[in-house]
Amino acid sequence: MKAIGRMVAGLVLWALVFTVLYSLHGVGCERGWAEAQLTALSLHRAVLLAVWIFGTAAGLALALAVDWRRERMTERVGYWMAWTGAVSIFASGLPVAMLPDCL
């Protein structure tokens, strides 16, 4: 089972970051974080940016960590999945940097 776990680790991480982003977005809008200013950013956007940047970094770290383990097919799949996870975290979190928070 560990082999399967390693194969899908990258996308498990994506699922986690995606869930946290969407949840915090909903909670932040409900609690009025978008109105609380932290210097140039709202508290809401700062929190979401932090999650997104941290999540992308974690995804990249995972992808780089599994880079050398590519002898078996399952390990190669794990490697591709880790990169897919990292890219997916980056792409699906992009709206944090581009779109209005709670509009």
Binding site: M1, K2, A3, I4, M7, V8, L11, V12, W14, A15, F18, L21, Y22, S23, H25, G26, V27, C29, E30, L48, R72, M73, T74, R76, V77, W80, M81, T84, S88, A91, S92, G93, L94, P95, V96, M98, L99, P100, D101, C102, L103
Partner: protein, 827 residues
């Protein structure tokens, strides 16, 4: 022993009982798989007839063929049958039939669970069809949105039929999912490492994994809506703290992965058939496995793309739009791998290949319009229009129906033992392809011209007339094609000539057995060294019949198959699967009684059926295990292996792990619902409804702690046979939790009809009560089994399983009790 005597000995053990009784007691995967597929095609025919009614109605403006009320039932039933009674059961049936054969096993991991799934599907589907004949079919669309589906707007039983009937059918889907995951993990041929699995097994593994996590949200949503309709608990009623949008979230949390749940098994058939017909190997086995697993994950991040017009903030829509675009990448990886396979090989234009070409022609445009509707501004224009109807049909007919027709022609010689006699399949193909495109290509334009979905009539002067007429003509052309297909299949089964064993020269294990397959599949079980065992050894089938593989001896009347290490595929133990039984049909009938009594509004009677179901479950469990030590048994090839009764990580354990995962997903969906309502409700929780209580939560925590600690001690002491006292303590702990939860429900949670907060609180308490009650019953069962000698020494696997369930009950009860009192404590 001669091959014939070995065949007769195995046949006696594995065959269905003769006569009518055999129809009710069979648990054999080949029989059940075929039943599922035949029934699915019958439901397909019914839904197809409904589609003809829709097209007849829309053929001309001001259509008067059927009235609006009947029309609403017709389109609702068309979608519901196609999705829940055709697509999913067909893939379940194909998986049930094929999977053990592909993996070199004799049966699925839990044959009685397969049979239970079959009866639940048949009974649940029959409820829906009977309701349609009676004129009380669901009529709120196949996704049954409240408030339209709520009591005030659908006061009859129409929506209840959907909620109860579909939930009943979903039992079969979950059962199949658990069955498939465990079978892929454990019941493979010796030497079949993960990277030697046939590609189809990867597809089915991913699909089943998705089903485990996708179905619980829908089951939860259905239960909540039925409870709202029956008892007035306002989960979806806005003026009492609920939200109809919660249903949309729960439904599409299931509904979008559902598209891939339907697509992936069909794609698996393509990846299996295409290389053989292209006379080459599949290009990119590894990338395809990665793509399939990526789809399995990413498809869960798309559900909101069905809700772009519901007023969700732009940023949240952006998350889902990005994920919706991303999901095209792994789909494209598969498409390009298939094209590369065709390019690399020397394709033969045999009948299944024709249908695969149909897949490419139809599915790719459907995928591309999928990318279009993933983009928020476009979707806001096209939402709920005929464009979406066209898109979804291109995806589902292209991505499922065409590959499944190819699969039917591909595996029919295996199922029937007969070869294909006519050219009618070619005519059927062209009629379906041309008819389909006539129906749905123009429908994109009809949608862009503004025609909404589900309307029963339209005016003559708005420019939709010609397009609708063409769609209707195309629909009937398509129907003739499907009728020809059915006739062709029937002729092959009835009059086809005897087929050779491997007519396509395929290289996977299902072709290494006589056709039609005997009930035990393989006389002896193969050892494999690659992904193409028949390429390595074209005489493998003959050698297996001679008994040169593993587990060749029939003994003790046991149905034996091999269980292997998940990663290496090396043999670990002998799985002894149960034989013919009346328990599955009895259980399904009792569950049917529960659903029917709910449908009839006999609420006091309904729980009695659950009590009977619990008693049957108890009886079910008593038929497992061994009262005495067995030790290692010869398995052939010099191997000696223990039976599953004497190992800790057998199929039963993995089945429980997967079932617990499904249950935790249901709880997570419930917690999501609670949190969602909190974010959309202005007074959540209403201060008047929360009470700062200490005693009951404290008792729950103490009881849960005791149950967890005692469960661990019981499991640890199993080998030394010191489990009796800890088991008693675990029972006490769970009983304390159960009692405290009852007190919490009875005295502390306000009336659930008052506000959605109280309703979700009660739903969470009900979840905890159910699981704690289940754990309590399991511990009592274990206590009896220890006394009867079934659990002792090496035969302690049930303790580990019960500890898992007990842990779920205790932890969920503790978490939920804390969650319920937390707002008051914080206040």
């Amino acid at each position: 022993m001669s091959a014939l005597r070995r065949h007769r000995a195995l046949e006696r053990i594995w065959r269905n009982e003769p006569g009518w009784r055999g129809r009710f007691t069979s648990v054999n995967h080949t029989t059940l798989g075929l039943r599922f597929m035949v029934a699915a095609f019958v439901f397909f025919a019914i839904a197809g007839l409904l589609a003809m009614l829709i097209r007849a109605q829309l053929a001309t403006p001001h259509g008067g063929f059927i009235g609006p009320s009947a029309y609403a039932q017709v389109f609702t039933m068309h979608g519901s049958i196609m999705m829940f009674l055709f697509a999913i059961p067909l893939l379940e049936g194909l998986a049930m039939y094929l999977l053990p054969k592909l993996l070199g096993a004799r049966d699925l991991a839990f044959p009685r669970v397969s049979a239970l799934g079959w009866w639940c599907y048949l009974f649940g589907g029959s409820i829906l069809i009977a309701a349609m004949i009676a004129g009380v079919a669901p009529d709120s669309g196949w996704f049954l949105y409240p408030p339209l589906a709520s009591k005030p707007y659908t006061p009859g039983i129409n929506a209840d039929v959907w909620l109860l009937g579909i939930t009943f059918v979903e039992i079969s889907a979950l059962a199949a999912a658990i069955e498939i995951v465990v079978t892929v993990l454990k019941l493979r041929a010796a030497g079949m490492r993960l990277d030697r699995m046939p590609i189809y097994a990867w597809y089915l593994f991913a699909t089943a994994g998705m089903m485990v996590f996708a179905f619980p949200p829908l089951i939860l949503g259905s239960i909540l809506l039925e409870v709202e309709r029956a008892f007035g608990w306002p989960f979806y009623t806005a003026d009492r703290g609920g939200s109809p949008l919660l249903w949309q979230h729960l439904f599409w949390l299931f509904g979008h992965p559902e598209v891939y749940i339907i697509f992936l098994p069909a794609a698996g058939a393509i990846s299996t058939i295409l290389p053989v017909l292209a006379r080459t190997r599949l290009v990119g086995y590894g990338p395809i496995v990665a793509a399939v697993l990526a789809l399995a994950f990413l498809s869960f991040g798309l559900w909101v793309h069905h809700m772009y017009t519901t007023g969700i903030p732009h940023m949240a829509l952006g998350f889902f739009s990005a994920a919706s675009s991303l999901v095209a990448v792994p789909t494209a990886v598969q498409i390009f791998s298939w094209l590369a396979t065709l390019w690399q090989g020397r394709p033969q234009l045999k009948l299944p290949m024709l249908y695969l070409i149909g897949f490419f022609v139809v599915f790719v445009p459907g995928g591309l319009t999928g990318v279009m509707v993933a983009v928020v501004p476009f979707d806001q224009q096209a939402h709920d229009s005929a464009f979406i109807t066209a898109h979804l049909h291109y995806v589902l007919v292209g991505g499922f129906v065409f590959p499944m027709m190819a699969a039917a022609y591909w595996w029919l010689p295996h199922m029937s033992g007969r070869s294909h006699p006519t050219r009618m399949g070619v005519a059927a193909f062209w009629l379906v392809l041309i008819g389909f495109n006539l129906t749905f290509l123009g429908m994109h334009l009809t949608g862009l011209l503004g025609m909404p979905r589900r309307i029963e009539t339209y005016a003559a002067d708005i420019g939709w007339t010609a397009l609708n007429l063409v769609s209707s003509v195309g629909g009937f052309v398509q129907a003739i094609g499907f009728a020809l297909f059915a006739l062709d299949i029937g002729l092959q089964v009835k009059f086809g000539r005897r087929s050779q064993r491997d007519p396509w020269r395929a290289e996977t294990l299902e072709w290494a057995m006589p056709t039609p397959p005997p009930p035990y599949n393989f006389v002896s079980l193969p050892r494999v060294e690659s992904r193409e065992p028949l390429l390595d050894d074209p005489e493998l089938g003959v050698r297996l019949v001679r008994g040169e593989g593993l587990l060749a001896e029939a003994r003790h009347g046991w149905r034996e198959t091999l269980a292997v290490n998940i990663v290496t595929g090396e043999p670990e133990h002998i799985a002894v699967v149960p034989g013919n039984s009346l328990l599955p049909i009895t259980m399904a009938a009792v569950l049917g009684g529960f659903f029917l009594s709910m449908l009839a509004g006999w609420y006091p009677v309904a729980p009695l059926f659950l009590v009977v179901a619990a008693a049957i479950g108890w009886r079910w469990a008593t038929e497992t295990g061994s009262p005495a030590a067995i030790g290692k048994l010869p398995a052939g090839g010099g191997l000696e292996l223990p039976t599953q009764h004497e190992v800790r990580g057998g199929p039963g354990w993995w089945g429980s792990v997967i079932t617990v995962a499904a249950s935790v997903t249901l709880l997570a969906s419930l917690l999501f619902g609670h949190a969602f309502l909190w974010t959309v409700s202005t007074d959540w929780p209403p201060p008047a409804l929360v009470q700062a209580v200490w005693l009951e939560p404290l008792l729950v925590l103490v009881g849960a702690g005791l149950a967890l600690w005692a469960g661990r001690r019981a499991d640890a002491g199993a080998q030394a046979e010191r489990s009796h006292a800890p088991v008693t303590l675990a029972i006490c702990g769970q009983f304390l939790v159960f009692s405290a939860l009852i007190a919490l429900v009875a005295w502390r949670i306000p009336s659930p009809a008052e506000h959605a907060y109280a309703a979700t609180a009660m739903a969470m308490a009900a979840y905890a009560l159910f699981h704690v009650g289940l754990a309590l019953m399991m511990w009592l069962f274990v206590r009896r089994r220890i006394a009867s000698g079934h659990i002792a020494g090496e035969r302690s696997a049930p303790l580990r399983i019960v500890r898992l369930w007990s842990g779920l009950g205790a932890l969920s009860a503790a978490g939920i009790a804390l969650l319920l009192v937390l707002p008051a404590w914080l206040a």
